[in-house]
């Protein structure tokens, strides 16, 4: 039978929290592929600030929400860079999950009848194949 995904989802979220909360501090701070392509024609210093020349990136304007408390992946008011980045990452993961899972949960195809058996019955061939696969190896083995 189809297993519930919640244990897996919680495990995956923990991995995401570690990546965004800790590993993010070791990410490269150089401009990414898009930004570096737009810097072509300009000269930059060691901190990637434009020092001269002419390039598309010079047209960049401020972000509408540059004053957001989490702007630029930092938490305003937290001075420690490591903590600020990590905390913003943790909040971002939780917020993205809340928005995503919430919206997808509301949008989901609701089955008639009780939750588990109803879902299996209505999704027909796909669930059937899943079920066969889930039990298949056990039967074959």
């Amino acid at each position: 039978m189809n297993k519930r995904p919640w244990a897996f989802v919680v495990g995956g979220l923990l991995v995401a929290l570690v990546l965004a909360g800790v590993v993010s501090n070791y990410a490269s701070s150089h401009p990414d592929g898009l930004d570096s392509s737009l810097l072509k024609g300009c000269t930059v210093d060691a901190d990637d600030n434009i020092t001269g020349g002419s390039c598309p990136a010079q047209q960049a304007k401020d972000h509408e929400l540059a004053d957001s408390p989490l702007a630029d992946y930092g938490v305003r008011g937290v001075d420690n860079g490591f903590l600020s980045t990590g905390l913003s990452g943790v909040l971002g993961v939780l917020l993205t999950f809340a928005v995503g899972a919430g919206a997808f949960w509301l949008l989901r195809r609701r089955s008639t009848g009780d939750a588990t058996s109803g879902a299996d019955a209505t999704s027909g061939a796909v669930s059937g194949a899943d079920g066969a696969r889930a039990t298949g190896p056990a039967v074959r083995g």
């Binding site: 990410a27 150089h30 898009l34 598309p56 929400l65 957001s68 971002g92």
Partner: protein, 239 residues
């Protein structure tokens, strides 16, 4: 100039073109909602939320590429398409981009339609077309699955980068002096390198999920037989 922005910033593409792409993206996302609902059941909905959260996390991890002074990061279209399907997958990437633009000041709000078009729509669509072909051609082993993930992720990044080039051709705010091909080549070259990172991350993640919970990998549905790495059914069966 801060270097944490990862997506198209305000001022790079002019307002009218950005508005057209906003309308285009909204229409396409509506189609994704309508088609995606067929896939979204009690199991896929939380999984899709996880995929969005995971992509947000990994997008923060800019990795250096071989060119000095340039980094790359995951776009996530191929990863989402493999794990939750193309329609819901595009919505996952779009959720990430909306959160980044509205909360993290990354990617102009006025540029959101452009960023969604490139990364959520083009990237995911290109990836899924490749996934659909490769999974039928390649052997149904974890190696086949890894190659599918790697190739589709790599090429989807290059396709997404060319989406930007088209947008810049339509509404770029700097006169390139007719050197659009130069921008196209630069973007393609650097994103080919970034695509290698995208491919490695996508393949590692998808193969890991397929080992732990093969039933949660959308791309493995509908195949007549499961991807068999011997370990996969054993783990699935025991639990």
């Amino acid at each position: 100039m801060e270097t944490l922005a990862m997506h198209i910033s305000n001022g790079i593409i002019n307002g009218p073109v950005a508005a057209v792409f906003a309308a285009l993206a909204l229409a396409a996302l509506t189609v994704c909602v309508l088609r995606g609902r067929r896939d979204l059941d009690d199991r896929l909905a939380p999984m899709a939320g996880l995929v969005a959260a995971f992509i947000f996390a990994v997008q923060m991890l800019n990795f250096p590429i071989f060119t000095a002074g340039v980094s790359g990061h995951l776009l996530g279209g191929a990863l989402a398409a493999m794990l939750v399907g193309p329609w819901v997958g595009a919505l996952c990437v779009a959720v990430v981009l909306v959160v980044q633009a509205l909360v993290f000041g990354d990617g102009g709000v006025a540029m959101l339609g452009l960023n969604i078009t490139n990364m959520a729509l083009l990237g995911t669509a290109a990836a899924y077309l490749l996934i659909a072909v490769l999974l039928r051609v390649l052997p149904r082993t974890s190696t086949g699955l890894a190659v599918t993930a790697f190739v589709s992720a790599l090429l989807s990044v290059v396709v997404a980068s060319q989406g930007f080039v088209v947008q810049y051709w339509l509404g770029g705010t700097t006169d390139l002096g007719g050197n659009l091909a130069g921008l196209s080549g630069t973007m393609a070259g650097v994103h080919l390198l970034i695509g290698i990172g995208e491919g490695l991350i996508t393949a590692t993640t998808v193969v890991t999920v397929a080992k732990v919970r093969p039933d949660l990998v959308y791309a493995l549905r509908g195949l007549r037989r499961p991807v068999t790495t011997r370990a996969v059914p054993a783990v699935g069966g025991v639990r």
